[in-house]
Homo-oligomer: 341 residues x 2
């Protein structure tokens, strides 16, 4: 395989983005590529199979180095979390044919970074991109490690049917919490209660008063808020938190396309209610990963978990899928299928 020239479709990043990104900020191209491992390092080339669309990718379209991960390079493929099959490897940890997850370019053939070999392929392969991938692990770390849950707690999850939210809600329900969620369409709200086991749910776009909606669904207040959206929702949640409440900040997707963030006015409740607000990234908690794989695979096998995905078929559909995710058009975990395993 080494030295072979292949046809390599790519999604190139065109320009740094201010405000809402457009599909035209990316470009689908077909190129030729010679498959060659780089010398002087442990290197892996994968055939990309599935790519994950994640809100955090918006941050990498910004011309800013003030984050935990560098920005995209104009003229190069965008990258993200994905699944691939190893086709060339100088890293003894990976053999040709291995299925791996990790960071890779949005193209047919890519160098892989921070790869993890998937040993137990008992579940549908796309699950390893979401429920058993970065999103599921984010939900697991966030809920079990950051939220400090207690049985009987009321947890409220925003973006509750998304890749992370649907897992958080189910983990919380299995753990013994009362689970309330919000999403941006009736279809998603129906999913929350009919499929993911949420006790109550509301469509935030149909609520003129978020504070009133939260008081209706959480009349005794909120013990845990799993924060995915930020902005006005966070402000409404703060005044509804119970004493000693915890807010796990996973992300703030409503803010990612704003050059000036929405103002937050109610942080005085951190003292009144003795709140803990805790931002986290799954990658800081890799020690939890073995437990995560073990438990979540078992819970799926026992039928205790479900997963809803929204898979765009074909690399060329990637830009629309990613832009759609930022606007909440997806129903369930948004990903892009690039090739069959």
């Amino acid at each position: 395989m080494a030295g072979t020239e292949v046809t390599n479709r790519q999604i190139l990043f065109k320009n740094f983005v201010v405000g809402w990104p457009q599909e035209s900020d990316m470009e689908f191209v077909t190129t030729k590529k010679k498959l060659e491992l780089r010398e002087g390092q442990k290197d892996v080339i994968v055939r990309v199979l599935y790519l994950s669309c994640d809100p955090c990718q918006r941050g990498r379209m910004r011309n800013s180095t003030d984050s935990y991960i560098p920005p995209y390079t104009p003229g190069k493929p965008i990258e993200g979390y994905g699944l691939g099959k190893v086709i060339l490897s100088s890293d003894p940890a990976f053999n040709e044919g291995d299925i791996v997850s990790g960071l890779m370019g949005w193209e047919d053939y890519s160098y892989g970074f921070r790869l993890v070999k998937i040993d137990d392929l008992a579940l549908p392969i796309s699950y390893y991109l979401g429920a058993l991938g970065m999103a599921g692990f984010t939900a697991y770390v966030g809920f079990f490690r950051i939220c400090e849950p207690k049985k009987g707690d009321t947890i409220y999850v925003s973006a509750a049917s998304g890749a992370v939210g649907q897992m958080v809600g189910q983990f919380a329900k299995l753990f013994g919490c009362r689970v309330v969620g919000s999403a941006g369409s009736q279809q998603k709200v129906d999913l929350l209660t009919s499929k993911f086991g949420y006790d109550e749910a509301f469509n935030y776009k149909e609520e003129p008063d978020l504070d009133a909606a939260l008081k209706r669904c959480c009349p005794d207040g909120i013990d845990i808020y799993f924060e995915n959206v930020g902005g006005k929702m966070l402000d409404a949640v703060l005044v509804n938190m119970k004493v000693f409440g915890r807010i796990a900040v996973c992300g703030m997707v409503s803010q990612y396309n704003k050059e000036v963030q929405d103002p937050i006015y109610n942080l005085n409740y951190t003292v009144k209610r003795r709140l803990k607000i805790h931002g986290f990234l799954q990658s800081d908690h890799m020690d939890v990963q073995p437990e995560f794989f073990k438990n979540v695979i078992q819970w799926f096998k026992e039928g205790k978990l479900v997963y809803v995905e929204d898979i765009a078929d074909g690399l060329e559909k990637g830009p629309a899928a990613l832009i759609g995710l930022l606007a909440g058009k997806n129903v369930g975990k948004q990903s892009v299928k690039v090739a069959d395993p």
Copy 2:
């Protein structure tokens, strides 16, 4: 003593306050009072000796029950943390002549609540109102329990020469942190470095750009922020926090007289930097109090701690002292001396 009629000077609360409180929102009166324990309860009457002026008292001037402590009652004396001498007691825990700290009215003779007997009077008595009282205990709990300090951490303290701030800075220095503080006058800034051992300090009123001031004093970023002020300062701090930084929210004195809180824009840094923002109240951590008394009394005896107080002499000076505190006119811990022990 029971049944005696005494002259009882009082500071009455006149009206609920919107915006900045004025001295005229309180009234100094001289009344007569019959000293009588109430039946059916363990009751204590104290001769009030010292009263503490605390920013949290502003909250009790608001017509709102949305806090951890009820509002003041118009027509009744304001109350707060103070020192008193027991003159009548039906509570077996307290005897006539005991010196106690706790909640009491701003008057000569008051029922006492949540009292603690002071056994070891080795230090100046007023210290038991501040350094060894609610403020010192707040600093102790906040620093040792909430801030999760590590040796070598850079800690930044706002309102750093105040009742709480001066103790936090000294605890942090004893613990082995690099300590940076801000205050609102050159006199206070000088105190920080010359008296309390702060490594660096600045006058926030003279800084046109708080972000630049923080970058100058904390060039490698901030591990711990001890939050006393809120508002623009918090927003400037957020972007200067290091990864895994902790913000202990003790109070937000810059916001207490605002009907709408200043907006905060930089909470997206909670994820970028994986920050923990933790609001707390000392009264939730009473299990730490024996350790606090033991350590802090010993550190004072060893000359490792100092304390700067600003004592108004006479109950009638109380309203001006309390209003002055909210405007930052005090230098060090503001209290009111009512009577000699």
